[in-house]
Every structure is written in C-alpha cells, then in structure tokens.
Symmetry: C2
Subunit: 420 residues, 2 copies
C-alpha cells in the first residue's frame, strides 16, 4: 500500500447537529442552519464566521428528495457566509464522510485554513415508497435495479450469506438493534431514541388505550419475532433491523492544525483518512465483507500510525444491523465471523471493551443519508472531549474512528480522530 501523508495537519474545533427526525415543512437549509448554530456553541473560544474559507456539503439527493439541486452555494447565503466557495459532494450514503475528507484535503492542500463541512438530507417529504426508489438510485441502474433490488434486499442478501457462512441466526442482528437503541435512548437528538423494552411498553399501553388486545411478549426475542410488531422487510431483515428514513443535518469546523489552539484548548485532530470504491454487489467475490471498507480502514490506520486495538470507540455505518456486524470486522475490531457474537456478548456496548455506535448509530439516531457521515464525527467529538453526557465512555477515550458507507460498499470512507 502506498503511504499517504497530508501536507498539513488538520483539527476539528467545533461540531454540531440538528435533531434527527421527520420534520414536515423544514428544508435542508433550515436543518443545516440548526446544525451550524449547534456547532458554533461548541467552539470554546468562539470564532469569526469571516474566517471560514470554504464549505463542503455532503448530500445524497436533494434533487430527488426536495427538488433542489446546486445546494452548496445556497447554504453560503443561508448561513451568512456570502461568496465563500462551496461544493456539494455526493457519494450516496457516504456523502457526509466524503465531504469530511474533502475538507481535510482542502486544508492539507494549502488553499484553505478554515473549512465548514456539512452533511444534509431531507427525506421525509416523499412517501416511503418513493423515498425507497430515490435511495435505489444509489444501486446500479444497469444491472441491479432492473432485477428488482432495493437497499433492504441488498443488505438482506449480505445478511443471509453471512449468517449461513458462520452458522448464526437472527440473534446476532437483534443484539445490534437492542444495543443501538440502548445508546440512542441516551441521545436527545436521536430520531428513534427509545430502548426496545420501552418501545414494547409503549405499544402495549397504546393497545390497551385503544381497547385492542394487548400483546403478550415475554421478552425482546418474542417481540422481534412478532410479524405484526416487527414485520419482515427482506428476509432475514425485519423492521427493527433497518435504519429509518430521517431528516437532519450535521456540521464540523476544521482548521489547520497549527491554528487549532486559537479556537479551543481541546481540538480533535484528524490523523487518518481513507477512501475506496467497489463495483456493485453482484460482481464481488465475497459479500460477507466490504472490500472498500477494508481498504479505506487500512489506509486510515497506516496514515494515523495506529492499530485497531488502540481505537477507543467507533461510529460505523449501521444502515442495517448486518452492516454494523460486517463493519466491525472490516475495521479490524474482530475477526471475520466474530462481529455478531461481539454484539451479543456486550463487547461493543457502551461500557464494553470496544464501544460501537454510542450515538445510537444510524439505526436509532436516524439516517438522513448525506448527514450521517458528518454526524459520526460529531459523536467522536463529544466522546473524545468527554462531552457525551450520560452516554460517555469515559476519560480514557483518546482515539475515535468513523466508518461511512455508500450503497452496499461502492464507496467507503474511514477517518481516525485523536485527542492529545
């Protein structure tokens, strides 16, 4: 592997996000303004917006979701950053992570000193079936879409191959969902921030209130197996294996590393970045792993000069529960076939040895697709600065990793962050 090195160091000095959810009548520009205000409040020593040299906006498809293209310059006007160069970056659900990488490269290039990286998506205005169609444009129109595949079907294919190869059942998928909802319940910005046990209790209460038969689930297993409460979407993936269709935005402020202390005492350095591509799912020799994620992670680790064992926490792309399991293997946390068991054993839980998706992940926090890769960096910011409140993993957290995937792995982007 070619050793890659940034021309100048880059640090994150602010990070914020809108609440994720379904917000009728709120546009991406308003969502990004929310995230921007939230970010401003995190810059310890404040800053003058005039210092921002440029913007990168990760967005999958405002054209299809809200009929608006050319979103990046609109944001300069909306945020009061007139005339600043602004560029929209699109790599499907990896748009946010890719925008982050462009921000890092822009500073390393010498052109910019201060960059605002935003991620946005406004998905809930479309009916769910049209939203699924819009998302399907991230698949291959020539080969995949005509054969009837949608994204739940792609990931179901990966899940069934994975479970078959390693002799596992849906219990590993369920463990991821339960864990991420536990974490999301501690994240006030989560779209579905409820523990599964609380979801069950709500459903029982609602049935009782309506005078309908109250479901008698003994435990979470029974709830998950209930075809009414948790319908099959694409075998073996049920509703609670899928991330929601969300609206939301996130942003981070990046600066040249040697300027960071002008903004904050506790900058978070970005010490590794990796990106890789792959062809569509049907052409891959092995669909129980994502090759582009392995390459991207390898590059990021090599640049950062750290090993997977040293990473304190990871935010990975759990668009479906199976995706988190595969991701934790692709980033080197676990051997192939061991990611699911790690979730069952609590290794990836918030207080486990290798915390994964302390934010609640895409599954519980929500998945406004272009925003997700940037929101991952927001969680790392909070955790490494010990500002994650009740979901904090503790003061020893020093290295964080984000893993953002587009499509089924046609794009993967990995970043490594460090608090010194």
């Amino acid at each position: 592997m070619k050793e890659r090195k940034l021309g100048r160091g880059v640090a994150m000095v602010g990070a914020g996000m809108s609440t994720f959810g379904a917000f009728a009548g709120i546009s991406t520009r308003d969502l990004l303004a929310d995230a921007y205000r939230d970010m401003i409040a995190t810059v310890d020593r404040g800053f003058d917006p005039n210092e921002i040299d440029g913007l990168y906006i990760g967005n999958f498809s405002s054209e299809l979701f809200e009929g608006q293209g050319h979103t990046a310059p609109i944001m300069t006007e909306w945020l009061g950053l007139a005339h600043r160069p602004a560029t929209r970056v699109e790599n499907a659900c990896a748009s946010g992570g890719t925008a982050l990488r462009q921000g890092v490269m822009a500073i390393a290039s010498g052109l910019y000193d201060v960059v605002l990286v935003g991620g946005i998506e406004k998905m809930s205005d479309l009916p769910i079936e049209r939203a699924t169609d819009a998302l399907a444009t991230a698949g291959d129109k020539l080969f995949e879409i005509p054969s009837g595949f949608t994204f739940p079907a792609f990931y179901a294919t990966m899940a069934s191959a994975y479970l078959d190869r390693y002799g596992l059942g849906a219990e590993v998928l369920r463990a991821v969902a339960v864990k991420n909802h536990e974490n999301g319940a501690l994240n006030p910005k989560a779209h579905f921030g409820q523990r599964i046990a609380d979801v069950m209790a709500s459903k029982k209460a609602a049935a009782a209130k309506k005078g309908k038969p109250v479901p008698q689930w003994k435990d979470i297993e029974e709830f998950f197996a209930d075809d009414r409460a948790n319908p099959m979407i694409a075998w073996p993936l049920r509703l609670f294996d899928c991330s929601p269709v969300s609206d939301g935005a996130a942003c981070v402020l990046l600066v040249r590393e040697d300027l960071a202390l002008q903004f904050t005492d506790t900058p978070i350095r970005i010490i590794g970045t990796g990106q890789a591509s792959d062809g569509a799912l049907h052409g891959r020799p092995d669909i129980t792993t994502v090759t582009s994620a392995r390459i991207a992670a390898g590059e990021a680790y090599a640049m950062a000069h750290v090993t997977p064992e040293e990473i304190s926490l990871a935010e990975v792309h759990d668009c479906f529960t199976i995706a988190e399991i595969v991701a934790t293997e692709d980033i080197g946390f676990f051997e192939a076939g061991k990611g699911g068991v790690a979730a069952i054993d609590g290794v990836t839980s918030r207080l486990g040895a290798r915390p994964v998706n302390t934010s609640g992940g895409l599954k519980s926090k929500g998945h406004p697709v272009g925003a997700s890769g940037v929101a991952q960096a927001v969680e790392i910011w909070k955790q490494l600065r010990q500002e994650a409140g009740p979901r904090g993993i503790g003061a020893n957290a020093r290295l964080g990793l984000t893993h953002n995937v587009g499509g089924t792995g046609q794009t993967s982007v990995v970043h490594i962050f460090e608090r010194r």
Copy 2:
C-alpha cells in the same frame, strides 16, 4: 484578498473528450469511457492506469437525467480502475470546473499524485421540457422556481438589463453566436458544428427538397430575426442564443508537477484556481455582472501571478450568448459594457487579439452540463500544445483560462493554465 497557494504544483498531462451530441441509448459511463480512451491517446509517453490514485467526477444530475446516483464509483469499475477512491462533485453547470479544482487540491494536499478528473452528463433521454425542469433544480426552489423562472428566463433577465444599461441591441448577442459557430465548425467533436451561414443553406435546401417555400434571408441578420427559423425563447434570447441540451463527457489527467515529465515533454501546468459562490439572482445588487466570477477570477490571477492581458485565450461559460459577453468582462478581458462590442469587432474571434471559445463554446460545441467545465480544459490543452488543428490560435499561446459557471453564478470556477 487572502493570498492562496497550493502546497504542491499540479500539471495536466493528458486530456480527452467524447463527441458531444444527442446519443440515444448511450449512458454516462459509456461517454466517459470514450473520453478516457481519447485522453489516454494524448499522454505522450503513456502511463499505467494503476498509477491513478483517485477520481473526481463532475456531474450535475444523473439522478434526474438517467435515474442513476452514486455515479463516481461506477466509473472506477467501468474504466478498469477498481477500488480507487472516486468522488462525485456537483455544483450544477459548474460541476466540471469544481471537479477539476478538487483534483488540483487533492494533488496539492499530498494525498494523491495522479488524479483522473472527469465530467459527464447524459441529458437527451428526457423530453426537452423535462430536461428544462431538471435544469431548473439548479435555481432556488424556495424563491425562484415557484415564480416560474427557468434558465432561459434567468439569462434573458440578465440580457435585458445589460442591453438596457449599455444602450445595445441583439446585434451583440448575435455576434457571439456567429463567432462560436464559426469556431465549432472547426471542431469535429462539436454538437452543432455548423457555421450559421451553413445552417441557413441547409434549411433552404431542406425546404426546397420538401417542396416548401424556400426562405429568402438576405443575410444572417434576417435569419436571426426570423421568428420561425430562430424563435424567441425568452426575450431578448432566441433559439440561437441558447446552448443545446447535449450528451457528453470529458476528462483530464492531473499529476504532481514534479512527475509531469515522466508522462510528457509538454505538460500544461495549472497555475491558478479560484472559486466563489453567490446567492440567487433576485438578491443581487447588479445583474449585469457575475460577482462570483469576478472573485474567482481575481483569486486565480493572484495565485498565478498573471494579469488578464497576458492570457492567450479563454474558454468561458457561454450557456447563453449574453453569458459570454458578461464573462469576458468578469475575467477582466474588457471593461463593463465592452464585451459585446468586442465580439462584433472580432476581438474575441479565433484570430482576434483575445480569442474566446475557440472550441465553439457551450453554444456550438454543446453543453452536457457536468462535462462542460472539464471540456474547457481539454480545449486549453489542445491550444497550448498547438494541437488544435485548423482552429489553432498559433504557437505563441502560452497562458489559457477557463471560466465555468453554475446556475446564474451561484458558483463560478476559474482556472489558469500555462505551457512553459
């Protein structure tokens, strides 16, 4: 203005494009493959595709035009560049120029040594009114589109303001159209590569052949004023003031400057890059100039340490004839109000003092929107290397400039190129 400097120098060592036109059944991936093959043939000493570190793909809206998102990684597979990081960049009709800038920055950042920059658009599959709707998503959905504006209307507004302010008539617009068709007639890859006089002759011959009354235009003026042959689109812009809806692709190969001589004896260095944004047309104090273009050009000149007077030729964004006139003023070739007269006087013609759009421009060469910004660089490559054939401007050409605009100037990107 902040002085901006690239961390490492960047050179263009290959450049190619597909033919521009309307090609039913040909997808963007095939168009880019055509451009890639064309580019490969221009790299004097050849190269190993394995050396390509990454791709940037400028594309306005494959989602809307061909139902395909996430186009960048698809291109890696299609071109045989498996796993290479690939990023789609979208800034409406400035997507190509923005992708070029990202390629420059990626090399300057230290991460990549060799980058393929592509621009693509496949527009002709949609009926013209739906293509116009798709293009309209580059306007502001909140303020502009609901009031009925489309892009011909935006530029018509700018044109009427310009003509009124400077006391000019449609003759200045016509001069641009005539000139660009003269140039396009010498470009075998142009979509509408016919001189206007030849268009008139063809129409006469076609009418005669069908036994219809043969039009009796005395001169080009009469042809332009004929509401049947050259209908009014949005006053004062007629059909021949508008660039066509085209399919096409272009690409260039960029390398770290100190590697350039491994690829060619005659690299073309990129010595200046500038980008700026603006709000929508309705909020601007003056619509007879494009502020973002002036800022972008100013940055590019400052970085390149050259003045407008030193530029040998420019490819500017003539999506409408008025746009070229304003562009030549915004890049400092002429004072405000003098760009139209310069076209009439032949100053901007191929053999004039300040050649503009020797390729035929968007007007005659065609305007596959995401490809246009990259295709401009292809023309500069040919001209500075004296490989432009019958449309060559001569051996003294040493500095070239490209000017690529998105929307009505919400984005402008300017690059300056040098042959040493």
